[in-house]
Every structure is written in structure tokens, then in C-alpha cells.
């Protein structure tokens, strides 16, 4: 099944204002750089973005925040972005902060046909307010619902035109679960190959979860906290 599309512009062309998007990545690691640029150019607004982080001021989702294209963010950690913090504290931006493990599992559940699940994370905190509590093994748990999105946009290292994906290093992070949870999933990859060129044993995300795939024109792969030791 050939799912290859030309580029980020064609892959994202039918994303509309007001839609809910999932975007893979942890910090700036493993983010779909080319699609984010295309979304900025597309100029759509009122987006709800589900992403672990919100980029930095001038890269990643920070680019969409600068242009006020995002109405609501669903994330677990949003430090390192002054514009984000300003929009949130002033009330311009709606923000739903949820525990990282719950975010990952909610995406996984959304893609796996599990409508909700109980987790201990957040019990007794403001995250648990208004949520059903049940005790299992004498421990309190809160009910968390699955997340899905109109589009999931993920980034992988290699992919084939069938949509099979292989990630590299910790750039994997949220990408596999989000790929599962999108009604339409767009994958951008550094290296797009023909079916048969990837070892089926090494596939991380099966192609069934991916509807569109293209090779990104370029990757900056910015490092957020370059930390080294001396010899």
C-alpha cells in the first residue's frame, strides 16, 4: 500500500482550523520539524495541540504559539518557553497539564481501543479533581480517558512507503503512541525507502497506523540542553 506523499505541504494541506492535533517529540527531540513549518505556513488557527512539551520560543511548537495558532495545549511539561508561559498566565492560551505517564497511556489507549483506564498518578492532587476514584489492591486510582486526534503528526528515522517506521534513540518517545491515536497519521522521516528495504523484525510502528508518509526536506535537530564532559 503506497502511502507516500510529496512533502510536508501536501501531507498537511487538509488540516483545518479548530482541529485537534497530536505531535510527537520530547522537548525538541523527535519532533516533526517539517510539518510544524508547514502548519505555520498554512496559517490555520484555534488548534488544540496534544504534545508532551511546547517547544522553545523560536523552534518546535513555539513557532505556532508565536503566531497565536494554538488555542489549547495538552502537555505534561512546558518550561523553557517564555511566550508559552506568558500566554498561559494571561489566559490567552488554555492549558491542560497532565502527568507524563498518563499522557502516554491516554494516547496509547486512544489508539488501542481502550476508552479509559485507572491510574494512581495524580490522585490527591488537582489532576484528580472531579475524576472518578476507585480502589484496587487498597490503593486509590483515578479514571483517565483515552485521547485521540484528527491528525497525529510523528517523526521517525526511517520509514518505508507502506508506513512502517523505525525510530532512533530517544527520539522515539511519544511518537509510536501518537501514531496509533490519530484518525489520520502523518509520518515524516529522515530516510524514506521502498517496501522490503526495512527488516520486518526491527519495525517499531507498524504501517497500519500511518496514512501518509514523506521524507523531510531538512532536519535541524536542535539540541535544547547541550551538555558535555571534558576528556
Amino acid at each position: 500500500m503506497n502511502k507516500a506523499v510529496k512533502n510536508a505541504t501536501t501531507a498537511t494541506a487538509d488540516i483545518k482550523s479548530g482541529m485537534t492535533l497530536m505531535l510527537g517529540g520530547f522537548g525538541l527531540c523527535g519532533i516533526p520539524e517539517n510539518c510544524i513549518t508547514a502548519l505555520v505556513e498554512l496559517g490555520i488557527t484555534n488548534l488544540t495541540c496534544i504534545s508532551n512539551n511546547a517547544g522553545v520560543d523560536d523552534f518546535g511548537l513555539g513557532l505556532l504559539l508565536q503566531k497565536r495558532q494554538i488555542k489549547k495545549m495538552i502537555s505534561s511539561y512546558v518550561g523553557e518557553n517564555d511566550e508559552f508561559e506568558r500566554q498561559m498566565l494571561s489566559g490567552e492560551l488554555e492549558v491542560d497539564l497532565i502527568p507524563q505517564g498518563s499522557l502516554a497511556e491516554r494516547c496509547r489507549a486512544g489508539g488501542a481501543g481502550i476508552p479509559a483506564f485507572f491510574t494512581p498518578a495524580g490522585y490527591g492532587t488537582e489532576v484528580g479533581h472531579g475524576k472518578e476514584v476507585r480502589y484496587f489492591n487498597d490503593k486509590p486510582h483515578i479514571l483517565e480517558h483515552a485521547l485521540t486526534a484528527d491528525f497525529a503528526i510523528v517523526k521517525a528515522w526511517k520509514g518505508d512507503t507502506n508506513g512502517n517506521l523505525i525510530f532512533k534513540g530517544t527520539a522515539r518517545n511519544f511518537n509510536p503512541m501518537m501514531a496509533m491515536a490519530g484518525k489520520i497519521t502523518i509520518a515524516e522521516v529522515e530516510d524514506l525507502v521502498q517496501p522490503g528495504e526495512l527488516d520486518p523484525n526491527q519495525i517499531h510502528t507498524p504501517g497500519v497506523f500511518v496514512q501518509r508518509i514523506f521524507q523531510g526536506a531538512k532536519y535541524e535537530k536542535r539540541i535544547e540542553q547541550r551538555t558535555v564532559r571534558t576528556k
Binding site: 492549558v95 494512581p120 495524580g122 492532587t125 532512533k168 509510536p176 558535555v228 571534558t230
Partner: protein, 218 residues
């Protein structure tokens, strides 16, 4: 009185061979530098790696290999990489034996607050809520008082909570304390710090029994 490195060195002595350990951002990250030589542990970073190694040498950084603090890292021989759902399955499923994290406040019943100052600072909880809700063994690494000299060991947290009744042990620049049903039990004093000084810097209930030994560094 200890500095941040001293706190990290003291917590490093708590490590036991065979443990998988999750280190939070800040002081906890330093602990990896002071693992005793005969102790075999693996570090987990919740963005998706077990067997995290030291920071890379200059010029060898890989943008695709970072820790949960977004710092460039290396992978030890035998490391493995996985997605975020698998990572938190390890955490929630109690496959990680020790969690060390920082805190803004800890209450004497084990409540912890470390993710939000309403109206002023909202960075988010990241993985902290999942970690503290599930970990069997949680050590908090922090300074005993805040920048204004106020105690961070309280009768009750004033900031939004990260987790309830979960902290087991606290290592500060002044002391090692265990959370017990009756409050903070003073276990050890930092070098040169008196029980009276610790009492004065602790707002929560403090239990002092007998002679409290000074920390010993190997």
C-alpha cells in the same frame, strides 16, 4: 552543612546493586557521578532509556539521545530504548526500585509539592506525578530551606501537591530524615550541623531520638 554535590554523594550511598533508578532533574542528576565502585545500578530516564551513561564528550553529542532534562547523554553498553508508554509501564508497574527527585515542599506525612507555584510559575509536572504515585522507594533531594530561609519541611504543603503520603526519605544540606507516621524522624546530621539548628530549620513535626549520628562519607 552540605552543598548540592554533598547531598548527591550522600544519596549515592543509598544505592544497592541490582537496582534500576530514576533520577529527577537538578540535584538528583548529580548522583550518577558518585555511584560507589562496587555498586551495579542502571539509570532510567523516563523519556525512554534504561542504561543511561554519562554526558558525551564535546563533539560527540547526538540530538537523538537526551535525558528527561533534555540534556545530551550517552548510552551504556547493554542500554535499551523504548517509547514513553513502555517507560511509564516500568514506573507504574514498580519495576524501578528507586526514584530520587527534587521538591519545593515536603510535609511530615510524606506529601510532596514540586510542580507549580500558582500565578507565578507553571512548568508542569512532567513525569513526577506518575513516579511518586507508584514508586515504592522515594528519596527527596533538596535544600532544607528555601531562598528566603523558610523551611521546606512542613506540617502541611502550601503549594499544589504532586503526590500524597509517598516520600520515604529526605536528604537535605542539613540532615537525613525519614517520614514516619509521627513526622520527620531525624536519622543523620550533616557534618557540623547541630540538632538545634535542624530543629530551627524544620517546620514540620521532628522526632529526635537519642544521639543523632553525623553523616559518614566513604
Amino acid at each position: 552543612m552540605l552543598d548540592k554535590i554533598g547531598i548527591a554523594k550522600r544519596i549515592a550511598q543509598e544505592l544497592q546493586s541490582g537496582w534500576y533508578v530514576n533520577l529527577g532533574i537538578g540535584i538528583p542528576t548529580l548522583i550518577a557521578n558518585y555511584v560507589p565502585e562496587n555498586i551495579d545500578v542502571e539509570f532510567q530516564s523516563e523519556n525512554g532509556i534504561l542504561g543511561m551513561g554519562p554526558f558525551p564528550f564535546d563533539g560527540e553529542e547526538d540530538a537523538d539521545l537526551i535525558n528527561a532534562g533534555k540534556q545530551t547523554i550517552t548510552a551504556m553498553p547493554g542500554a535499551c530504548i523504548f517509547d514513553s508508554a513502555t517507560s511509564f509501564a516500568m514506573i507504574r508497574g514498580q519495576h524501578i526500585q528507586l526514584t530520587v527527585l527534587g521538591a519545593m515542599e515536603v510535609a511530615d506525612n510524606g506529601d510532596i509539592a514540586n510542580w507549580k507555584i500558582p500565578g507565578r510559575m507553571v512548568k508542569g509536572m512532567g513525569g513526577a506525578m506518575d513516579l511518586v504515585a507508584s514508586a515504592e522507594n522515594i528519596i527527596v533531594a533538596m535544600m532544607h530551606t528555601n531562598k528566603r530561609g523558610k523551611s521546606k519541611l512542613l506540617r502541611q504543603c502550601t503549594l499544589p501537591l504532586t503526590g500524597v503520603q509517598c516520600v520515604k526519605r529526605i536528604v537535605t544540606n542539613m540532615a537525613v530524615l525519614d517520614v514516619t507516621p509521627k513526622g520527620f524522624k531525624l536519622v543523620e546530621r550533616a557534618p557540623g550541623v547541630t540538632v538545634e539548628e535542624i530543629k530551627a530549620a524544620t517546620e514540620g513535626r521532628l522526632i529526635v531520638e537519642g544521639d543523632v549520628p553525623e553523616m559518614v562519607f566513604n
